[in-house]
């Protein structure tokens, strides 16, 4: 049986929410920056430093590594406010969300000392090196290979859809270190310097014309032993848990929030059609947020809500697209991506970005199969 238990925020959590709202209103007032859509927002190292100074990066990491030791719900509260504001979260996004917890859980003592304080200070950036030309949903098919050499590994292969590889410091590469009967064995995670010799980064022109995603070719790149994450050969399990527990956060249902908010700011909800649309989407957010928050509570309670997370991501990402369609239907002409109207620009960006919502981080089809395993009497 699924374990969704809705909850209210405590007074302390509401106080944190107020602090984040006040911080954003003061540091990043509306009109002073170009808001982005969810985790595809802008990149601003100074802003990431300002968040770090407030203790809002690495929030769930232990104090001894510079974290706030505050838990998943507190991070949820900060992240949802940042995303709905369209704040430039891209510099620290992967490090804060994914790499920090991965290194805390599986990394060596030396890796923790080296990377976690820097993540909490907002001084290091990471990309993800999972997908490959022949390994999308079927991640165990990765062909990037690391071969043992003195003091480390030589890595060759091609990673695809590596967001920010051209601007970030490191990426965590899932690669094959041995051939086993079970292809889920013999995989290993390595932390690879994106400026290392032998790395070539080529941009992928995305639908909206942006070049955030890349193809990264590794040609005999040397990776020292101290940058192996966890155990050699244990990469599959580590990678799966990294994906599974980060699935149901606010980034999975807020990607089109600002399109709606900015529509209201510029056009209002003046007729019944717009009013009904607004009521529908607000009710949807209210319900999905309650489910997403309940997953965060389960994580704080030490549980592993794998099926619940998959259900929320699947639901949330389709909802993001539904919101977009609902707002889009109120607009008589196709939006101009270079329009003077912020709403029109956000709408255009959202339309062109929407196909990825239900693909990135695990396609909805894979998520449904994953969740269905838990749907038994």
């Amino acid at each position: 049986m699924l374990r969704f238990a809705p909850s209210e925020l405590t007074d302390a959590e509401l106080a944190l929410q107020d602090q984040v709202r006040e911080f954003l209103a003061a540091e990043l007032p509306r009109g002073s920056f170009a808001p982005g859509l969810g985790m595809a927002a802008g990149r601003d190292e100074d802003f990431s430093h300002a968040l770090a100074a407030r203790g809002w990066l690495g929030m769930a990491l232990p104090r001894r590594y510079g974290g706030a030791q505050r838990g998943v719900v507190d991070r949820f509260i900060v992240v949802e406010e940042l995303l709905r504001w369209g704040a430039p979260v891209r510099y620290h996004w992967v490090a804060d969300r994914q790499t920090g917890p991965l290194i805390l859980r599986y990394g060596s003592a030396a890796q923790r000392e080296r990377f976690l304080p820097a993540i909490c200070r907002g001084e290091v950036s990471f990309s993800i090196g999972m997908s490959e030309p022949g390994a999308g949903s079927d991640l165990a098919a990765v062909e990037t290979r690391a071969t043992r050499v003195a003091g480390g590994w030589r890595v060759s292969g091609t990673k695809l859809w590596t967001g920010g590889a051209h601007e970030n410091d490191w990426f965590v590469v899932l690669c094959r270190t041995s051939d086993e009967d079970d292809r889920h064995e013999g995989l290993t995670q390595l932390i690879v310097d994106l400026r290392a010799a032998g790395i070539a980064v080529r941009p992928i022109a995305y639908l909206d014309g942006s070049e955030f995603f890349n193809e990264v070719v590794l040609d005999d790149v040397f990776v020292p032993d101290e940058l192996v994450v966890g155990d050699v050969g244990a990469g599959w399990a580590q990678n799966t848990s990294e994906l599974a527990l980060e699935r149901a956060g606010p980034e999975r249902w807020l990607s089109t929030y600002l399109v709606l908010e900015q529509y209201l700011r510029e056009h209002g909800a003046v007729d019944e059609r717009a009013q009904a649309m607004l009521g529908e989407v607000v009710a949807g957010w209210w319900g999905i947020r309650a489910l997403s928050l309940s997953v965060a509570r389960l994580l704080d309670a030490g549980q592993a809500p794998v099926a619940e997370s998959a259900l929320v991501k699947e639901l949330g990402t389709r909802f993001e697209q539904d919101v977009l369609d609902a707002v889009w239907r109120l607009v008589p002409e196709d939006p101009d991506p270079a329009a003077g109207s912020l709403f029109e620009r956000l709408l255009a960006t959202a339309i062109l970005g929407a196909p990825s919502f239900t693909i990135r981080g695990g396609t909805n089809e894979i998520l449904r199969s994953l969740a269905a395993r838990a749907l038994r009497p």
Binding site: E80, S369, A371
Partner: protein, 280 residues
């Protein structure tokens, strides 16, 4: 019985007359200063087709879709803004039913003697009625989920459980999601029954009723379409409750107007704070 207890009964047991009457009939009479009488009291929910006038303590007119009027000792209704109660013996009942065959009677009043209480805002009754429907629908959806999941596991076709087919799994996932949404809506409205929560909760319950209902029938196949099968009983009631105390159009427009009035800057605070931020 507290409100939370009565809502829990509705969610766990389905249409329970005692619980529903406690939440609606007895509440309305207490609200109007007419409590203290013994005997079951049902409430006219207030249909657009109703027309009643109150004059000199007598009520005339017709009210529709009254649950179990035929069996109740008394019928409470709002007439000219006042809460009134009429004994069963003083009114005529025309038996009608909802999609599930549950009594939704038409009550004809012809100068019936009525005890007249205080003025009650029809909106208060309407909100409370919606609250009962959210609880009922969440409960029916809980049971619908159990039925669909069990059937997908037990029923074999092509030599294996139908739940092992991805196409069937997609329906189960949809049901689980919709049931979860209706469930959090019901729990949230028990905790805080403000206008925002009721509006959003009824919208989610209505949407879940249609979507999960359709998926569950697809999982059960022809077996779920008989009058006897528990799935059909559940979906028929869900479809009926969908319209009672506000359909999607009613609540979405109303919620949208309230949020639009609060302004663009307050949309997100409304999503997180509900009725503490926006008055619906």
């Amino acid at each position: 019985m507290t409100v939370a207890d009565a809502l829990a009964v509705l969610r766990e047991r389905g249409p329970d007359r005692a619980a529903e009457n406690a939440l609606l009939g007895e509440w309305l009479l207490a609200r109007a200063g007419l409590s203290g009488e013994a005997g079951e009291v049902t409430v006219a929910p207030g249909s657009a087709r109703d027309s009643v006038v109150l004059a000199d303590g007598r009520v005339s007119g017709t009210v529709h879709r009254v649950p179990w009027a035929r069996d109740a000792a008394r019928v409470a209704l709002l007439a000219d803004g006042r809460a009134v109660v009429v004994d069963r013996a003083d009114l005529t009942v025309q038996a009608h039913v909802n999609l599930a065959g549950d009594a939704r009677d038409t009550v004809v009043l012809d100068g019936a003697g009525a005890r007249t209480g205080a003025a009650v805002d029809p909106e208060e009754l309407f909100m409370r009625g919606a609250l009962t429907r959210i609880a009922l629908m969440a409960g029916a959806l809980d049971r619908l989920y159990e039925i669909a999941v069990r059937h997908a596991s037990d029923r074999r076709q092509f030599g294996r459980p139908i739940g092992s087919f991805q196409a069937v799994q997609q329906h189960l996932v949809n049901i689980a999601q919709q049931v979860a949404l209706a469930g959090v809506a019901a729990e949230a409205t028990v905790r805080r029954a403000g206008g925002f929560e009721i509006a959003a909760g009824k919208l989610l319950a209505n949407r879940a009723a249609l979507s999960a209902g359709r998926s569950a029938h697809q999982v059960l196949g022809a077996l779920g379409t008989t009058r006897e099968h528990p799935l059909g009983q559940l979906t028929c009631r869900l479809w009926a409750w969908r319209s009672e105390y506000g359909d999607e159009h009613h609540w979405s427009t109303r919620l949208g107007v309230a949020v639009a009035r609060a302004g663009a800057d307050n949309v997100y605070p409304a999503i997180t704070g509900g009725s503490t931020v926006v008055s619906v």
